[in-house]
Assembly symmetry: C2
Homo-oligomer: 410 residues x 2
């Protein structure tokens, strides 16, 4: 398929209007037109769809004394709710959002990382979803969709977990299982796509059209935004920067390949670096990854030269691998996020800024900024809810293609 269809253009316009509502909160059709660059006629057509679906309501009618009074519109938070679900190796965290994507409550349920059956994970998700709905006092029937992020490679269109290395899942039809279990509309995706969408709509994407969102934790990865749109690739795997080479024939990565970025800047990569600096360092005995990062943080704060060297070497690896990302996509901005960044960002980011000019083309570095994410936590749940809202609205706006509009769903 080589053509950009009218449907794509229409879908772009719909997303643009929706994002404008998130930016402006309350707006007239004229203001939406100014904000999006779309014609008032196009905006009016889309607003009519949104009004019909009950997603938008008229908050006030204002008169300037000249011409027709103008309707001030906003997203209608009471139209329904969306549940964002972040499934990780050791927990399921759910957040319920109203249709303005304001959070209404969060619940976390632990998962035993040694249990890997789909049914076990589905049970955990069910508990966490029903728990958060009870907490927020939201009935199942008012949920327009549940957005579930799953680790590994996910194909949203097929609703399949293609590969989840932590559970050794291959081609699990997870959307089907969850839909049957929950009795609600379910949308699935990968956490990096969710984080990138959250950043695109509510974070750095408000300022930048071309950005990379880089997540550092146990695993490392990126989400790419080009021309204001999330890049998925043909099988939703774009952005797997964590599994690009830092060093041919280098350290063994848990993906099976040697020399991946993750084997140097993921938490186990940092442990490997520490073992090269001092093979008998006591912190290497720490099995819990977050505690290991805490120990690094405390060591750097205390000025311990071994930890200072570890952070410096990690920053060198990070700058080199971000340099590759910058040379490949030439973004305007790189956002760093994830729990390693939350803990060590104040040390890592200035070092990366200092080292990146040696790692990328000068005229690409000249236009680049690097910063920590300004979003609070739960960005996975927020991103999944955003994706689910977009899906809901796409179905609302295009009744002919996808059958009945999801006014009936839930």
């Amino acid at each position: 398929m080589t053509r950009r269809t009218a449907r794509d253009l229409r879908s772009d316009s719909r997303s643009a209007v929706l994002r404008a509502f998130f930016s402006l909160r309350t707006a007239t059709r004229q203001e939406l037109s100014q904000h999006t660059g779309l014609s008032v006629a196009t905006v009016s057509t889309l607003v009519k769809e949104f009004l019909t679906a009950g997603v938008v309501h008229v908050e006030a009618v204002v008169s300037s004394g000249v011409g027709r009074p103008l309707e001030q519109l906003r997203l209608d938070p009471s139209r329904g709710y969306i549940v964002g679900v972040d499934v990780a190796e050791t927990y399921v965290e759910t957040t319920v959002f109203d249709l303005s994507l304001d959070p209404r409550g969060t619940v976390s349920v632990p998962l035993d990382e040694h249990q890997n059956s789909p049914q076990y994970v589905v049970d955990g998700i069910r508990l966490a979803v029903h728990g958060v709905l009870a907490l927020a006092g939201v009935s199942t029937s008012s949920v327009v969709g549940v957005g579930v992020s799953l680790p590994g490679q996910v194909q949203p269109d097929l609703g399949v977990s293609v590969f989840a290395p932590n559970w050794a899942w291959h081609d699990v039809r997870i959307k089907e299982l969850l839909t049957a279990e929950l009795g609600m509309h379910v949308h699935v995706d990968n956490p990096l796509k969710a984080i990138a969408v959250a950043e695109l709509w509510f974070g750095a994407g408000r300022e930048h059209r071309d950005l990379a969102i880089v997540n550092l934790g146990t695993g490392v990865g990126s989400g790419l935004v080009i021309n204001g749109e999330l890049v998925r690739g043909v099988s939703n795997n774009a952005g797997e920067w964590g599994h690009t080479l830092l060093a041919l024939d280098g350290r063994l990565c848990r993906c099976g390949r040697q020399g991946c970025v993750e084997a140097y800047v993921g938490v186990n990569g940092m442990k490997a670096t520490l073992s090269e600096i001092q093979p008998d360092h006591p912190a290497l005995l720490q099995q819990e990854q977050r505690r290991f990062v805490d120990a690094v943080y405390e060591g750097v704060v205390a000025g311990d030269p071994v930890f200072v060297e570890l952070v410096d070497e990690t920053a060198r690896y990070l700058a080199a691998s971000l340099g590759d990302l910058v040379n490949m996509i030439n973004p305007e901005h790189v956002v760093l996020t994830g729990w390693t960044v939350a803990r060590l960002g104040d040390w890592l980011i200035p070092l990366v800024r200092a080292k990146i000019p040696d790692a990328a083309l000068r005229s690409s570095v000249a236009v680049l900024t690097v910063s920590a994410s300004s979003l609070a936590s739960s960005t996975v749940a927020l991103g999944m809810s955003t994706l689910t809202l977009e899906h809901f609205l796409a179905a609302v706006g295009l009744p002919s293609r996808t059958g009945p509009a999801p006014a009936q769903q839930g």
Copy 2:
């Protein structure tokens, strides 16, 4: 700027209709609508602009006996000409195209690679442009634009050669110089962007919306196409895959960084690999790069084990670095092009196909195809002419920047 404007959408639609003309050659408004997915109303508006500008003409009027007779339209080759200019280190090659982008003649002028003043290069371009116009019997006044590809980093909007390492140019206002010298409308860009656009419009882009065009020669680089659109990045440097890391602290690259892909799979990289296999090999004395590649070709054809090992090791480096590209953007197709591929592709490509599954995510490799370009030579000139034609039409279609938006969208 975070918004996708009506102007962007309109420009996408214009390109879609133009590409449809290149695919269909002759088409009615209804056929253009079917091919592009745009409404007949949108197509009619754009066709009207093209007719007014004289770019399209009515070739025939056909009647089916039912309803209104239909006009068969096509691009009007006699409306004007475009000159595509490929400026390399040792030559300027110019091809003149009519507005259907059919070539009408090619001229090549040698450049002394030790001369690096902008005026020297501009003089060479002027000679080659006037030469090819004389050859094709085209008058200066019928040229609607000259598209000039320059090595290194180029900013088309500013008309500036930001950095050309071979000439040690920094921020040369080359478009201004050329416009004054030629007295014609000039558009400048980088050869990888030109090759990618040629492939997008006339090669693999007809079949694939997500592709990477990988060029192998003295230098190596890529052009990226995502969702049917060329990725430029914020300073037109996207796709600099040749300067991503294969090996941290590895071989010194001519860009100054250590371990770049180019230092392994560029022609000098292949020489370095040969010197590791056999430090005193006579082929290492060959200074002329194309002759070196010829020697490799002849050696492999003859079954010489040293050259067989060289090609195998080069394919290993190439597969590893293409694996990174695949993990980053998850394309549907990788096109290999450039003179190394023209010579060694029959050996390199099957080896790369065999090795790439070890270098990239399984679910990304599963959807990937790799092939040599199907386009004939002069793709740089063809791509530059395509970009120049797009610019010409954008100017035709948008007499005022803030003109009326396409209310007919969708």
